[in-house]
Amino acid sequence: MTAWRQLVEIARKDLRLEARSGEALLVTTPFGAVALLFVPLAVGTDTPLLRGIGPGLYWVVVLLFGLLVTLRTSAVDTPPQIALLRLCGVHSVVRLAGRAAASALLLLAFELLLVPVAVALYDPAPHGWPWLLVVLPLVAAGLGLLGTLAGALAQGLDGRTTLGPVLVLPLAVPLLLGATQAPAAAALGHAPWPWLLLMLTVDLIAALALLLGAPHLEEVA
């Protein structure tokens, strides 16, 4: 079996587990929606204010809760399972890349499910929205890669779900900046390419870190 085929199978396995449990999309997504619902109750239900802060709040919720989605998928990895994959000849890079691919797809679905909630609750201005077609996958890919790294670093630890976000959330700040600023720049008539390039750079650095760090993290497992 080629490495690519292995990667696809591992990603499919993770997605199949999610389809059976529904933990990410049926539990974490409603939790994120509740967070979006709570904020106006705390800051005030002033419509112009909410219209202004809505997009930013949406991305904060995506980052915070999205990392929970990626860390949830790493919970199913037990040492015997990892040992079995190793015996089957699955390289650590392939295993983590498959996990990152599945996480990115799940995150994309998570983002798409939260978009109508944010639109309904905050009624943001529609300018620059077509750029979301690029921004959403870039954030999903970056967060999927960073979350996979965090999951591998905190593998088997008791405080995995709290430690993981602490490790990688500060590194995900450029994704938050890019995601909020790209549509805003487009709405003002500016080219959003620098922000998209920033997000792409973070994605590539995270992919490189996964590529170089995976063999060492495999030994951890």
Binding site: L153, G159, V166, L167, P170, L171, G213, H216, L217, E219
Partner: protein, 239 residues
């Protein structure tokens, strides 16, 4: 061997005293007056935070290459001291910022990226604390120690890449430093003094780590050792 040693604490104390005098006799800033003297502690603290994280980065790479425990101990010690100096730089900057900028905190790129760097390395220390097995801890920390270093150049360049309230580099830049030379001399003396303190802290922390490792490898007492077996000699079973 004592924890702090004998000569280095004396050297550090003398240098700190000289640095204090140099900071006090240096001319005051034309606009900020004596407030500017905070620079003589704020800037060395920030530079030593960078140095600490650079050592963590180098020692992490060395551990991944050589797998020697001393590199892991050095990486951890430098990170701890680096986090301390980062916190000190943030607090001193905040104290300086209140009278000059009018606020304790502002959403300036240098401040935000420094705070993020602080949290990244707090995460590094949390990761170490959460992992009990020494080998696994060293491996995870080394991988994260390399990854986390990406923050350091971002913090340094933040004042050049984005519009910033914080002043741009005056010394660590190409060309002649844009600072009065007597002020620069006082600053460099304080950097030297703080570096001695940094070395003192890192060495003490490494020695503590060595002692901890030695204790962990020694066969320790068992919980049952404190209980002495009852003497049954000369005692009838019926009593």
């Amino acid at each position: 061997m004592t924890l702090f040693g004998r000569r280095l604490p004396i050297i550090a104390a003398v240098l700190l005293a000289v640095g204090l005098v140099a900071g006090l006799v240096a001319p005051p800033d034309r606009i900020q007056g004596n407030l500017q003297r905070l620079m003589y502690v704020h800037v060395p603290a920030a530079w030593l935070a960078f140095l600490g994280f650079a050592i963590t980065f180098g020692a992490s790479l060395a551990w991944l290459w050589r797998r020697k425990p001393r590199y892991d101990r050095l990486a951890a010690s430098a990170a701890e001291v680096g986090v301390f100096f980062t916190g000190l730089a943030i607090v001193l900057g905040s104290v300086w910022g209140k009278p000059v900028w009018g606020v304790w905190w502002t959403w300036d790129p240098r401040l935000v990226t420094t705070a993020l760097m602080f949290f990244v390395y707090l995460g590094y220390l949390a990761l170490r604390r959460a992992t009990l097995d020494p080998l696994v801890r060293a491996r995870r920390a080394a991988v994260f120690g390399v990854l986390a270093f990406v923050q350091v150049p971002i913090v340094h360049m933040s004042v050049l890449w984005w519009r910033s309230l914080h002043q741009p580099p005056t010394v660590l830049k190409p060309g002649d430093p844009t600072i009065d030379h007597s002020m620069l001399a006082a600053l460099l003396v304080n950097v030297l003094a703080f570096t001695a303190v940094f070395a003192l802290f890192v060495r003490a922390r490494v020695r503590l780590a060595v002692a901890q490792d030695e204790e962990d490898t020694l066969p320790g007492p068992l919980a049952g050792d404190v209980v002495t077996a009852p003497r049954l000699e000369g005692v009838s079973r019926d009593e």
